[in-house]
Subunit: 235 residues, 2 copies
DNA sequence: CCAAAAGTGTTAAAATTACACCCATGC
DNA sequence: GCATGGGTGTAATTTTAACACTTTTGG
């Protein structure tokens, strides 16, 4: 179907189109300091042809919302998300010029593994989250909101571990917080905080190869639960 | 259109239907103690004919999501919501037997004014939130989630005032907290907490007619903002 | 030895909690 | 007066924050 030529009257009578998009965050060490990066895809059709946009697509009839988001994310980054949660349903009347469009947006945290950042192409590219270009549709607004949620949730939820691998040093965790929140944290107090969390358990191994005293490695044993895992059954 | 006879194959090829529903909360003094109540509507067609359900309906092409929720709420309770925020988009595959259904659910707080609770009918009835009947679809799960969000947000957001009128006593605010959180709070400490909030300003008037010392009335001057009002532009 | 991060100790300030007590009103 | 909720005072406890200091490694 091509709605491109629908006039306003016709458009108002069409049922709203339903799409799933995902805001994907990863941490990348940007020469010493860590920073948030996200992959975007280039639009290959009108509207907004050529602009960068959030990965997404129409909702197929055979997938749950979350499954659709996860598949989309995998197709874009080649990664399985460590964390995936619904962000918001955007449904303003003027989001797309040609058709009434409702987008259910998810946000995801992935760990920067080996092949991931390499999987760039003409139409998939990673950008620093604080210096995005002018995106298609209302995607700049959506990313802002996702950033707000990420920072917010970082302050109380066990989210930082989703950026990291199986084992990690406490300083790495602190690095995640500092990168996301954009401010420095006292190493001593931060350490005590983490040590008081039952879900963070010390291992017997230490990270070797650093140029200073080898830090102990830890593991996170809790669930990477979105919310208190709440919308349990149906969504 | 009637999808009632669609078989599974046909169903999977239909585009998902999109509906808006709203979880509406009000506080009702239940003989001394206050308690949460919510209005439900009786289903007048299959599926789930006769069961109670959240008020809602299909998304028309000419309304924003929030407008649709507000209209729906008004049609049900006759009230304008003091607080209205998106709750979640539910899109599990098996939510409705006949058709793939995606519901964008809002939650609302209304103040129990004059005509509201009177507006009951054969098909609209108020229930105590902690003793709901078996609802249609997955609506029991949705209400549970809404209750969780309400209690959660009550602990940090300025939400309680949306249950109350223009001016109120500090004890009334405490009553809201106690009813929603389900536990008693120290009057002295609670009072100090509120007094330290700049948005709560004392008035010159006192509530008369009580059988004890007349308490001072206060006013809330802040915005009843969902989140930090964030999804600003588009949704 | 020196630099630098890992890790421990200590103390002041601030927020939370518990509870004793006085005040003002209707009956 | 007296019962009752409005309103104030205060001290113990816990949490947060700031920063000095010791330990262990690589060079």
């Amino acid at each position: 179907m091509d709605f491109g030529s629908a006039n306003v009257t016709e458009r108002n009578q069409l049922p709203p189109a339903l799409a799933i998009s995902t805001v994907i965050f990863a941490l990348r060490s940007d020469g010493g300091r860590q920073a948030l990066w996200m992959p975007l895809v280039r639009r290959i059709r009108e509207p907004h042809l050529g602009k960068w946009a959030l990965p997404g697509g129409p909702l197929s009839g055979r997938e749950s919302l979350q499954d659709a988001a996860a598949r989309n994310l995998n197709e874009t980054t080649g990664l399985a998300p460590r964390y995936l949660e619904q962000l918001y349903a955007f449904g303003g009347l003027d989001r797309a010029a040609t058709q009434r469009l409702v987008s259910i947006v998810y946000w995801a945290l992935v760990q920067p593994g080996e092949a991931d950042l390499a999987r760039e192409s003409e139409n998939v590219k990673w950008f620093p989250a604080d210096a995005l270009p002018d995106l298609a549709f209302d995607h700049n607004t959506i990313v802002e909101y996702a950033l707000w949620r990420l920072r917010n949730k970082m302050e109380y939820g066990p989210i930082a571990f989703s950026f990291l691998g199986e084992s990690f040093t406490l300083a790495q965790v602190r690095g995640v917080y500092e990168a996301v929140l954009g401010r420095e944290l006292d190493p001593a107090n931060f350490r005590r905080h983490l040590r008081a969390t039952p879900d963070i358990v010390p291992t017997d191994t230490f990270q070797q190869g650093g140029r200073h005293r080898p830090p102990r490695l830890y593991r996170y044993t809790g669930a990477a639960s979105p919310d208190p895992g709440f919308p349990r059954r149906t969504p």
